[in-house]
């Protein structure tokens, strides 16, 4: 009987990965690679680097599948977010941040060119100011706004309580409002 890999949940796939199943690993990667790429991209703002970080994270999981301990971790994605965030932060410590790309694509073709220019300029300023935020504030913003996680999930990933996370978000937003409003 053929195994329907897509039907298996993350926990089942991880248990199979611990037995050396490449099929399970492939299913998990295909299911989550884009999500974790988006998170990494928001930190590094560079496609190849973000892809390398996601690849490293998944290969670490493959090499040491027993890092995943279902009795200690609640959810695979929560645990793996932590791994990707840590790899992104490590990368930022090692490398000097690269300048943001000059060419930001104009995604909406119906938009008037002058509006598009203003929007692109705002985006560029926003990314610059986010990159200048303290590490934890940046992580809170990335998880809550860009990844659409709930505050509680983001707090779990960051290992802080809910109030601390809300405080980080508030401080980050206040700083951004002040800097972008200048």
């Amino acid at each position: 009987m053929a195994v329907d890999w897509a039907e298996k949940d993350d926990g089942e796939l991880l248990a199979l990965i611990q037995t050396g199943s490449h099929h399970a690993f492939g299913t998990l990667v295909r299911r989550h690679a884009d999500r974790f790429y988006r998170l990494a991209y928001r930190y590094v703002q560079h496609r190849e680097t973000a892809e390398d970080i996601v690849q490293d994270a998944f290969l670490k999981l493959w090499e040491g599948p027993y890092r995943w301990q279902p009795e200690r971790q609640s959810k695979f994605t929560t645990w793996f977010y932590k791994i990707v965030v840590n790899l992104c932060l490590d990368w930022r410590k090692k490398k000097r941040p690269e300048p943001l790309p000059e060419q930001i694509q104009l995604s909406d073709e119906r938009e008037r060119p002058e509006d598009a220019v203003i929007r692109v300029d705002e985006q560029r300023r926003l990314e610059t100011e986010i990159a200048a935020l303290p590490e934890r504030q940046r992580t809170a913003l990335n998880l809550c706004f860009s990844e659409g996680l709930s505050n509680q999930e983001a707090a779990d990933i960051m290992g802080v309580n809910l109030k601390a996370l809300q405080s980080l978000l508030m401080r980050a937003k206040t700083t951004l409002r002040e800097r972008l409003g200048e």
């Binding site: 050396g20 295909r30 790429y37 496609r47 892809e51 998944f58 290969l59 930001i104």
Partner: protein
């Protein structure tokens, strides 16, 4: 730009641009994993934790309640001076405890 409103900032944060990943990102990772050896042995600490996880210890509340229940059952079934009337010669605990005193 005047003082930015909270809603506009949140909207901008939600709409941050992300460059699309390579179409073969997942396949590249999978291919790389196929040539990467896997560490099969679970760490010692984890093995021990898993072993202990097989033995579930009851919670203290259940232990206390169970002990009390057994105590009451035993107590009701064997009251302190429940020597049957048809067995007058059976030594009761009370008689035994006071035996020396009587002798004195």
């Amino acid at each position: 730009m005047s003082a930015m409103r909270d809603e506009k900032l949140e909207e901008m944060l939600r709409q941050r641009r992300v460059e699309s990943p390579s179409v073969n990102l997942a396949e590249r990772i999978i291919l790389k994993a196929q040539s990467t050896p896997q560490s099969q042995a679970a760490p010692l600490g984890q093995s021990i934790r898993r072993l202990f996880a097989e033995f579930h210890l009851p919670s203290p509340a259940y232990v206390l309640a169970g002990t009390l229940l057994v105590g009451f059952l035993v107590g009701f079934n064997n009251p302190f001076d429940s020597t049957p009337a048809d067995q007058p010669s059976a030594p009761s605990a009370q008689a035994f405890l006071y035996a020396d005193e009587d002798a004195l």
